[in-house]
């Protein structure tokens, strides 16, 4: 590596402190989540209550994981994309597309269940590949490249279903979003599997290292032999598949496709989850665990709104404030200004 890093054997004290915090990138998101949960428990002591009903674990915490599954899945893909220095605005539309395809396939009893699940995922992967190729081969900025699919993807989904919301009765597919395994919703296992796969990919193969170097400095990574184009394309495919999976969960969950609403505004929730989780938008530094916590934070916020009886359309306001606060706290300039403001009165 040609980059100059501080000598790990002789760190300066300030760097030590920084390294300490860098070692716990999860600290702030976790503090935020804990604070929000605490707030809820104070208002509704039953918020964290768990009980067993019908042999299933039942309660708001389970709901948070179950309902948050879509957000977590999206956040996994989005983390990788953002780590590569990109962004994927099309995830919501890809969800709708995969969901619409799955519903249509699920209606056909002659198709095996594998096809009902794999074909939509393949479609989502192709959508991701399309994004990746636009970014890497044609050199379009990621925001715009994925904007194309964001605007037209939902239209394609509507054309697939002919503007209808096809309902289906396919027990195997319905299990995906509604079933229980060992007392827990199946979606939780799905998320765990996706996380494990992504984690293994990142830690056991060189992909993680590649990603960090790609996002940080494309030229340097190219010099060090990383095929940046390949990595970047792959990242969009992963994001597409994650979105497809989230779309399947959403569709299975309500037993019908809903091309207009499935994944509506979810791209923003996913980006927010990743940002709140501590991944740098400039690429390079990323944390999957942080994104998961971020996604759970967003879901808890949604749940809090339901509890407080706040009309859903108002829910974006606190989300916006939290994200801006997180970003401002991360900005060195803001911290300097705040410190300046605090110090001045003391000096007088």
């Amino acid at each position: 590596m040609s980059t100059t890093r501080p000598d790990p054997l002789h760190p300066d004290p300030l760097h030590k402190l920084r390294a300490y915090f860098a070692g716990f990138p999860l600290l702030w998101p976790l503090v935020g989540l804990a604070a929000l949960l605490l707030f809820n428990v104070v208002y509704h002591p039953g918020f964290l209550a768990l009980e067993v009903r019908d042999g299933h674990l039942y309660g708001t915490p389970v709901d948070l994981l179950h309902q948050g599954a879509k957000g977590i899945l999206l956040a996994i893909g989005m983390t990788l994309v953002i780590a590569s220095g990109g962004i994927d605005l099309s995830v919501g539309s890809v969800m709708a597309l995969a969901g619409a395809a799955a519903a249509l396939l699920a209606k056909r009893a002659d198709l095996p269940l594998v096809a009902v699940i794999v074909l939509p995922l393949l479609l989502a992967a192709i959508a991701g590949l399309w994004n990746g190729l636009l970014v890497t081969r044609i050199g379009i900025q990621p925001i715009i490249a994925t904007l194309v699919l964001m605007t037209s993807g939902r239209g394609l989904a509507m054309l697939l279903t002919g503007g209808q919301n096809p309902a289906f009765d396919r027990s195997g597919f319905i299990f995906l979003g509604n079933g229980h395994l060992l007392g827990l919703p199946f979606t939780i296992y799905l998320v765990a599997a996706a996380l494990t796969t992504a984690g293994l990919l990142l830690r056991r193969t060189a992909l993680g290292l590649f990603l960090e170097s790609t996002g940080d400095n494309e030229r340097a990574s190219r010099a060090s032999g990383v095929d940046a184009r390949l990595v970047k394309t792959a990242v969009y495919v992963v994001s597409g598949v994650c979105a497809g999976l989230a779309g399947l969960v959403a569709t299975s969950n309500i037993k019908q496709a809903d091309p207009i609403r499935t994944g509506e505004m979810m791209e923003l929730d996913a980006i927010f989850a990743v940002v709140v989780g501590g991944t740098a938008l400039t690429g390079g530094r990323f944390t999957l665990a942080g994104s998961v916590v971020g996604a759970l934070l967003i879901q808890t916020l949604t749940q809090t709104m339901f509890y407080l009886g706040v009309p859903p359309p108002i829910a974006p306001v606190p989300k916006a404030i939290i994200v801006l606060a997180v970003c401002l706290l991360q900005s060195a300039g803001f911290r300097r200004d705040v410190v300046g403001l605090v110090k001045r009165p003391i000096r007088r």
């Binding site: 379009i140 699919l149 964001m150 239209g155 404030i321 970003c327």
Partner: protein, 317 residues
């Protein structure tokens, strides 16, 4: 190069309009053209602001939400609090400008990515619109009743209505601002290459903040125009509007990396968008989702076209 992409946009517009006129009786009429401006006035006004932002190298995702917020605010003030309409409109515009300036300041001073700040701005403004009112508010006020009927007749059947006139006047004013003032040159300079702009003595910070304030004002004005068009303020309107506006700007030949583009191109982009929509209404058989798909395809086509032009230009250099 920007000329070439402008020409391409113009060709697409003429081809689209020509095809639609060929296919649908009554399409090529003064009324349809007047409608094109009137129905897309809000989009056009927001796209004008967006052009400045994109030229400066940024992006503004909050336009649709600011539109909804302003229209709801104006409706609320006029109907529930008996504020004179013009005062309510002025207040709405001022809030839009301030909102944009705050976003611009965050982007500049704290070096946050524009899309993130404006995304948060979009969530915030949309939510606040619903805080003002959960439902669409009708405005019944003599000013609005006369505004609804006001217009300049073009022919027996076609009238340029108030929204269309506001759009055209703003377009002229914004063109002057962009192409004939110091500020306009600064916007191009900042978007072209920020460090060199700084070296040339351009006040980069001020320019950036001004650009977002301008876009905020334009979005607010789009909200005002929406109240004129419907005689109501609806907090739910304008979802996805930001993407339409960006699409219009890009189809109009403005480079997303900033520094290259024109307002005339944006006007073409808006008219292309509007033509597709009206043509679908005239046809009356196709699924309206085709509009989304066609716009997406055009967007892609123009980006690729720009890329090819840029590549050819760099090879020549």
């Amino acid at each position: 190069m920007s000329r070439l992409s402008f020409a391409a946009t113009a060709v697409v517009l003429v081809l689209l309009f020509g095809t639609a006129s060929w296919l649908y009786p009554g399409f090529l009429s003064a009324r349809v053209i007047a409608n094109l401006f009137g129905d897309n006035a809000a989009l056009g006004i927001a796209a004008i602001g967006m052009t400045f932002v994109i030229l400066s190298g940024g992006i503004d995702l909050s336009v649709g939400a600011v539109l909804a917020f302003t229209s709801t605010l104006v409706a609320l003030l006029v109907t529930r609090h008996a504020v004179p309409p013009l005062l309510a409109i002025a207040l709405g515009l001022a809030i839009g400008a301030a909102f944009g300036a705050v976003m611009g300041a965050m982007i500049h001073r704290y070096e946050l990515p524009p899309f993130l700040v404006t995304l948060a701005g979009m969530f915030f403004a949309r939510g606040m619109a619903f805080v003002l009112s959960l439902e669409s508010l009708g405005i019944s006020h003599p000013f609005y009743r006369s505004a609804a009927t006001f217009g300049i007749p073009l022919s027996a059947k076609a009238t340029l209505n108030a929204p269309a006139l506001i759009f055209l006047v703003l377009f002229a004013a914004a063109s002057c601002l962009l192409h004939a003032t110091r500020f306009g040159r600064d916007v191009y300079a900042v978007g072209g290459h920020e460090p060199s702009a700084r070296l040339l003595g351009v006040a980069v910070g001020k320019t950036k903040i001004a650009v977002y304030a301008l876009s905020g004002t334009c979005s607010a004005l789009a909200g005002v125009v929406a109240t004129l068009r419907m005689g109501s303020g609806n907090p739910a309107q304008g979802t996805g509007f930001e993407l339409d506006a960006i699409a219009c700007v890009v189809i109009g030949g403005t480079l997303l990396s900033g520094g290259v583009g024109s307002l005339a191109g944006t006007l073409n982009g808006v008219l292309i968008f509007g033509t597709i929509q009206i043509a679908l209404v005239f046809d009356g058989r196709l699924n309206s989702w085709w509009a989304r798909i066609v716009v997406g395809a055009l967007l892609l086509l123009f980006i690729v076209f720009q890329k090819l032009l840029a590549r050819a230009a760099s090879r020549r250099a």
